[in-house]
Amino acid sequence: MISFENVSFQYTGEQECLKNINLTVNDGDVVLVCGPSGCGKSTLVRCVNGLIPHFYRGELTGTVTVNGTCVAQTTLRKISRHVGTVFQNPRSQFFNVDTTSELAFGCENFGLPPEEIEQRINSVVNRHEIGYLMDRSIFRLSGGEKQKIACASIAVEPVDVIILDEPSANLDYQGIRELQKMIAAWKEDHKTVLIAEHRIAYLFPYITRALLMKDGGIVREYSADEIRELSEEKLHSLGLRAEQAEDPSEIRIDTDMRRGNTDTLVLSNMKYSYRKEKPVFDIPRMEIPAGEIVGIVGANGAGKSTFLRCLCGMEKSCKATLKVGDELWNNKQRRRNLYLVMQDVNHQLFTDSVLEEVMISQENENREEALEILRSLDLEAYADKHPLALSGGQKQRVAVASAIASGRNVILFDEPTSGLDYSHMLQVSELLKKLRENGRTVILVTHDTELIKTACTYIIPFAGIKHGEKKEMII
């Protein structure tokens, strides 16, 4: 049982983040904690797994107890015997490099006998059919596979409370299906599950209660049936995502938006294989409508991100060409003429100030023009700020600004909305539309069905290679 009594929390040097929380969660409950970004849902779950107050410092008042133990008065190690956590970012939650050791890690830390750990691992691996993921390097797994290992490694531990902190942020449709199975298994085992999330529809079959948070307080509690009944408009007005679990390649999009009769960019001979293994994809010809927002959709691990790297000329071994008008661009020309906004945009911001970031991309540095570009993206006020000090959405816009400054007309995005709530997703969608209005071609890889519905004018279903087939991808 988890209980909060008059709990408030404030991170050192920041505004109050939790305000007077009172909450009781019974054993076997599956509770959804939802709300827009910054509402305090992650902070709330951190009070249960002990990261608050033991890791993140701040001012905590009131008491949180888990199975009768007061979290603040015990050690993280003792709490971790009762509470397991799956985090949002799969790249930073693994302590080991190989998957098998990762599964054993928690139990080893508790000092359980090796024979018992072996038994636990065998039963979890067979129950969830993840034998094919064992004995592999974490660094060679796709995002969805990593998240499966993260869940499995918690399932191996003998904990009775499980915390999921935005677990679906980097998952596609298929990955979410797997996550659902995991949650179903925990529910069956009568574990207490607490999920902080703003993509919520996929959880409806499992939750017993849902708490809506806003500005650090719990503003409403819904039963499972009540929250299921909420309309799409209502969910959006609460800042929540209303994505249904659906296959993005089957989405019908509004074709009225299309310009019609536009030119196409023709991509040929797109083929890539990792170190002489069988090809990841082999696309003899793909037509991409120019001046449109084209969504490329497909499962995690199908090679979509690699596809983008090849498309913008980063992979030497890929000999694709892109025909634009009368010109045929090879890798080097594509590197100069296409621009990829990466999923982790931190990797592409180098300088001390936003203005400099834009200016180094210009052919000839021109301050006035750079400021003009920033103005068009609502960034002028931040011209002197350090790019890494901005919010995620602002960083994305800075990257776009430098693409515009270098005069590129084809802009690629890799999962631009992963982990974003409704209003932030809409901002990205507006940005894409603005680029299109200015005549640019936008190509994005995404599994965000709401973004596809609000922004994309074309969808290209992307399939990795199966049995060495070749695939023409023409709309």
């Binding site: 990261l51 890791f55 993140y56 993280l76 302590f95 072996e118 931190n346 990797h347 890494l388």
Partner: protein, 239 residues
């Protein structure tokens, strides 16, 4: 097909043997202790890492390393006359490569083939404190992360036309380091939070699922290392 965990999977050498070998190699190859007196052991220590690469089936890396060794050897032979300024700079470079490369290969081998859990357990058996071994194991974990992050950053730089030898070449180093340090420090913080929620703590007893024990190869390598030090001692104090 049912999955069964095999707890006996391990690399050729025990973590303790690997560390002893690394230490010996640092002393006699990089440090060049004993100089001509140690010449036989020196060459064994230089070629052993290439053998270990072959054991790990890293054929290409082993072939490249072997080619560099042989190339350096003959180049140094050719440079044993009176040297011009350029030639002596080249000779110095070759000297540094032959000194450093074997130990670099060995260190890479250790990082790639040692599981974090094996390492922690082996160190505990040698009564080395957790306060030291846990941070070292984090460093192990960080090598591939740094490689992965810097690859993405490199891509981003190429896309912007900021490359070595192109525009902004002087700033290229700074541009590379700022995002690398920023993202590694974020990953580092998230990683320690995750490890702590899974019960990692200093000074507490932990178990290890991998069966680690000394095998024949460990004994051979340990004997080799011991022989190096004994032979060096003889040369130093009795001859």
């Amino acid at each position: 097909m049912e999955y069964r965990l095999d707890r006996n999977v391990h690399s050729l050498l025990d973590p303790r043997t690997k560390l002893l070998l690394l230490f010996t190699s640092s002393v006699f190859v990089v440090g060049n202790a004993g100089e001509r007196w140690m010449v036989v052991f020196y060459w064994i220590l230089v070629y052993l890492p290439v053998l270990l690469l072959l054991v790990e089936k890293e054929w290409v890396t082993a072939a490249v390393a072997g080619a560099i060794y042989v190339g350096c050897y003959f180049a140094q032979r050719a440079l044993q006359h009176d040297l011009t300024a350029v030639e002596s700079a080249l000779a110095l470079l070759l000297y540094v490569i032959t000194k450093i490369l074997p130990t670099v290969i060995l260190a890479r081998y250790i990082v790639r083939t040692t599981k974090v859990s094996e390492f922690l357990t082996a160190m505990r058996r040698m009564h080395v404190t957790d306060k030291l071994t846990i941070p070292i194991s984090v460093i192990f974990r960080f090598f591939p992360t740094v490689a992965e992050e810097s690859r993405s950053i490199n891509d981003a730089m190429r896309m912007r036309g900021i490359e070595m030898g192109a525009k902004k070449a002087t700033e290229a180093v700074e541009y590379r380091l700022v995002p690398l340090i920023a993202s590694c420090s974020i990953i580092g913080e998230e990683l320690s939070a995750a490890a702590m929620t899974r019960g990692l703590d200093v000074g507490k007893k932990r178990s290890c699922i991998w069966n680690i024990r000394f095998g024949w190869f460990d004994r051979i390598i340990m004997a080799l290392c011991a022989a190096c030090f004994i032979w060096w001692g003889i040369g130093r104090f009795y001859v």
